[in-house]
Every structure is written in C-alpha cells, then in structure tokens.
Amino acid sequence: MLKSLRAGLAGLAALACLGAAPAPPGVALDVLLAEAPAPRLADYRLFKDISGRQPNGLTPYGLNTPLFTDYAEKFRFLYLPPGTKAAYRAEGVLDLPVGATLVKTFAYPADMRRPDEKVRYVETRLLIHKREGWVAQTYVWNADQTEAVLKRAGARLDVSFVDARGQTVQVDYAVPNQNQCKECHQLDKAVTPIGPKARNLNGDFAYADGTENQLAHWTRLGLLTGAPKPAVAPRTARWDDPHEPLEARARAYLDANCAHCHNPRAVASNSGLFLNIEETRHAALGVGKGPVAAGRGSGGLRVGVEPGDPDSSILAYRMASTEPGVMMPELGRSLTHTEGLALIRAYIAGMKTP
C-alpha cells in the first residue's frame, strides 16, 4: 500500500517535471529531408501527440473547392522550415521553399451529422519538398489511432459512416500507392502539389483565434511574401456556395476534381479533354468532342459535353459511375459525389450550344 502510494507520488512528480520542461522539440526537418521516407508518421514530429490530433506548430488551411474523396473529411496543414516563407504566385501553386511540407489527414466521423465526434483517422498524406523535388508519401493509421505507418504500395480499407441523411454508407476506401500519388500530383512528369494555389486559398479560414482570409493570415504571420490584398488576388469559387455563379462553381469543381490529370501537362493530356480553369476552347472542354480512348466509359454517348443535355454527356455519365474502367476520376473515389454530380449536371443543362 505504502509502496504503491510512493510510486503514485513519483508518477505525479514525473508529470510535474514534464509540465515544467521546455517546449517539445519542433518538426524534424532532417527526417523530412532525408532520402528515405520515415517508417512512421511520428518520426517527423509533425504532431505533438501520438494520435496526430495536435499539430506541432503547423498552419491549418482549407481550399475554396477541394477534391472529393469519398466524403472523407480532410485536415490540411502547412509546415515551413524556420525562417522560410512561401512566395506568392498569381498562377499555379505558391512557390514553397525546400523543406516545406503539406500534411493532409483523411478522416471519417462516425456520423456526419456530428462531425466532431468519434472521428476516425484513415491516412495522413505528406507532400515533402525535398532538395531534389517534391515527394509524396502516405501513412495509414491503426485501429487504435495511436500510430500511422508508411504504406507505399497502397491498400484497401473498410470504412463506414452515417451520412447527413442518417444512412449508413460503406466505403471501400483506397489508399493510393506511391505512383498513384504521382499520377495526380504531376506536371510535366514532376511531382507537384495541387491545392495551395493562391486562388484556391483566397478565402476565409476559422482559426482558433478568429476567422481570417488565408492569404492575409499567412502574410501577417510572415509565412507568405508578395501577396496582394485578397480582394485583388485571383479567387476560385466555392463549389458548394449557391450564392456564387453556377459556371464559376462548376469550373472550380472540374478544376479541382479533374484537371490534375485533364490538363495539357498531365497524365490525361492524350485525351485532349482539358478541364483546367484556364481552358477556354469549347472542344477541349468536351463540348461536341467525341471520346478517344474511353472504351465503355463512353456509356454509348457521342460527346463529352452536350450543351443543355447532361444525360447525353459522357462527363456526367462517368462522374455518376462507380465502376472501375468507367468512373472518373479513376483514382480516389469509390462512391458517387451526389452533390458534385448535381452541380455539373446543372451546369451542362444551362449551357448554350456555342
């Protein structure tokens, strides 16, 4: 009895010591920059706790219009090495220094109607700017949520959640393999981030100490240099904001969900279908354009986009499908994004023949 009391006291003393200890070590930049990926996410010290809930000095961010990934919640963070800054670019991804790391955790609340409760982390993906260029890795969380380990060859995970209408949804969640990371994250065959473009960051974020425009916040914190006032910087529409123009929302959605492959410098360049936000040619946007290598992905339809007629448009057909070989995107989803599909159908329905 006395012995256990003494042990307990010792424990308390240890706790007290911890509390008085200096701040925990920062992010392990050397591990981030090492040639070989670390075997465990914890090795990078990007988070203070073993469950990856408490970022270690990272900056959280969001995108006006993100990629749909089977309704997963995404928690995004930026890490910049001490003393470095991102440089503003009006077009494309911000100029991020060597050592910069984009951290994205994919998670599912047990019930989407209570998004802050019982949140299961599935994987945490890293895009690390090494000296030789960007490298993509992903770490898969264990069932106990105490450790995430490197998974290079991809995996399938059973996930289920209750959706906004109270229906249980089963997801055959795909963790991408390292090459698949690159399939989406590339321009001219080099790995690149997709999300952190000025125009997609140009929106408000609810920080712990209040809501602020992200470009302004990053500038104020000394993380970003050269950015103009948000009002004059380019801005991607929010795909889900009904107050924004339909076309802007639809083009933002296609840009975020399709254009990482469907642009002239990426994996689907051979398709001739270019859905990046800068594209203006009708045929390149699918209007009146026949399929090239779609196979049964054409669904028996003649053109990518038939203005006024979503049912005759291959674009909508492939977005609706969940069948491998038909569905688009090819990677990153196994469910139909009902709301995204509705947006694109409305956009096509409202299009006039050029």
């Binding site: 055959d172 360049s269 051979n270 009146g288 992905g297 196994s334």
Partner: protein, 412 residues
Amino acid sequence: MPGEDGASEMKTLITVSLAATALSGMAQAKTIAVAPGADAQERIQTALLDAKPGDVVRLAAGRYELSDGLSLDVDDVTVTGAGPDATVLSFKGQKGAGEGLLVTSDRVTVRDLGIEDTKGDGVKSKGADQISFINLRVEWMGGPKATNGAYGVYPVSSTNVLIDKVTVKGASDAGIYVGQSKNIVVKRSRAEFNVAGIEIENSINADVFDNVATRNAGGILVFDLPNLPQMGGNSTRLFRNKVVQNDTPNFAPKGNIVASVPTGTGVMIMANKNVHIFENEIAENQTAAVMLVSYIQKFDDKTYNPLPRDIVVRDNKLGRNGWDPKFDGGAILAKMMGGALPPVMWDGVTTATGNSEVVRVRITDGPVLNLQLPAPGALMQAKPVKSDTVGDAQIAEPAAVVLPKRQADLGA
C-alpha cells in the same frame, strides 16, 4: 576442398555481377523475385516501387489475383514472368484504376506474362520512351463483350514502341492500340475477337508486319482523329500481315470511333497520310479487304485533315471479301455491283473544306470501288465506279522504322 570451392564460386559470382554492372552501366542491377500467394497486390506493387534502374522484377509462374491497378515509374526496368500462360495476372477482382499495369517511365520492357480481365485497359504506357511489350497475352476470358476493357496493349504519347509476339483477345475497342506515338514496330503479334485487331492512331512512323488479325470486327486500322495533342498521323507501313476472317459482330460501345467500323473489315484507313499497304494476305472479310474513308463526324479543329491521302495499296493477296457488307447502304451497293463489293473501296473524297492538300492514291490491287463522294460522308451523292486500279501517283514509301539497337534486339 569445400572451402576452395566456396571461394571460387564466390569469385565467379563477383566476376559475373561486376561484368553485369559494367555491361548495363547500372550499379548493382538485381532481380526482385515475386511469387504468387496472398497479398499479391502489395508485393508486386512494392517490387515495382523498389526496383532501381537496371533491375528485373521477376514474377514466378502462377496466378496472381489483383485488386487494383499496378504501376511502374522507374526507368530501365524489366518486368517479366515465366510465359504468357504460366504467369497470369488476373484483374477479375479489380476495384480501381483505369488499367491493369501502367508504365510511365523510359526504357521499360514488359514481357512473358498473361494479363486477364482488367476492368479498363490491359497494359498501358503513357509518355514513355523505348517501351517494349514482348510475348504477352492480354485477354478477357468471357469472350468478346461490350463490358470488356477498351485496349489490350496501349502505348500512348510514347516514342520508340516495340510490340512483339503479343496476343490480345476480347478488347471492346482495339486489341493492340498505339495512340499519339512516334517510331513504332508492331510485329509477330496476334489479335483475335477484339472490335479492332490492331489500331495505329494519330501516330507517326509505324511498321506493322507479320501479324495475324482474325475474328475481330475489323482487322487493322490506321486512323487520325481531330482535337488531340498529336494529330497529322502519317507514314505507316502495313505489310506481310494475315488479315483474315474478321467476322465478330462489332461490339464496341457507341460513341467510340471503332463503333463505326463495319463488321467484316480487313484494313481500314481513316484520314491519315502516307500509308502503304502491301504484301498482306487479306481474305474472308465480308465487308471489304481494304477501305479508305474520310472522318465524317463534325469537328472543330482547323488544323485537322479528315481525308486519307498518299495511300498505296499494292501486291496484296486478296481472297474472297465484300460479299455481305455491313454498313448502311452496303447491301444495295453490293447488289448494284453484281452481288458483292469489290475488295478495295475508297470513298473518293478529294477535297475537304479548309484544306488544300492534294489527295493522291495508288491502288493497284483490285477491283476497286470508287464511291466518288463530293464530301466526307455524302453517301447519298455517291457515283460509284468500279475499276481494276485507281491512281498512279508515285508516292515514296517511308523508310523502315529503326528502334534503338538495345530495344530492337529484345524480341530476337
């Protein structure tokens, strides 16, 4: 003595590996062996990620059940099995990705494997230089079906493409499809029960020879399509191929360009330039032995020429063809021609809006049916004329395609 043996064995090993290193110019080229069994997906994919330039990924004989696509993005790697019937990658349970195996790096060889039942394409290369597919079998085991994947072997936007001793069966588009590529050899291969056997599309400099295309809807196609990054397909030679009995009803999903290929077509040239068809055996194709046609769909592309031009058809051995043509108006046309169509048919279009390029042909195999259409697809205004030959333009044959030596020697 055992010790001495061991030492000399070690010495031999070192010498061999040093020699191998010197030969390949790669440090410590190695073989990564993979055996069938549980977790095949992860083990093969890990091998493809771990491979370094110069390495061989060797898949032992047996059956591998895959649940997702595989991909390779390392230069100078060979992926090999124990033979197209011995090492089988089955994608019957595939849940994602657009193809079975995707190669995006240079100087890669995929050989001696069978690939079955992929949900999309079989094996694809994108943007690869010196890509070689040798002694492969790509097959949809349920026979020809519209739900099969589109292409069997599918190099696209690639340069220096070698396809040798490959068999493809059941593709719902083209068995062997080369798109938007340059410097291509397709030889000693077999395409059966696909919509199109072999298709060369929007590509430049292709030699297609010593192949067999049979039981497809169409045997060998050379096309050029609009609104693509690489257009102006030209300079293809089709020779010494056996293009016989292409009689599988076209099962392509509508909308795809091959859905327009009439069942029973031997060789079809659509748009494209400088295509030479010679010394082939073309027989038992109910629609036509050789068809030269324009692209007839609407397009919005000023740089595109929809007409076949500079086409040579000579010295082919034409058997029975054209007795029951499977295109709209074909039966009436056959009746007009005395019951069967002549084996070679040209739509005869010589002018396209916005294009001043002269259309030349030299067709010495016949008889030839010239439809003399005034414009692409204007069938109602056909003025069909039958003759023994059409055109006598002197059209220089493209030089033989030469692949880099290292690659050219692979299939020997």
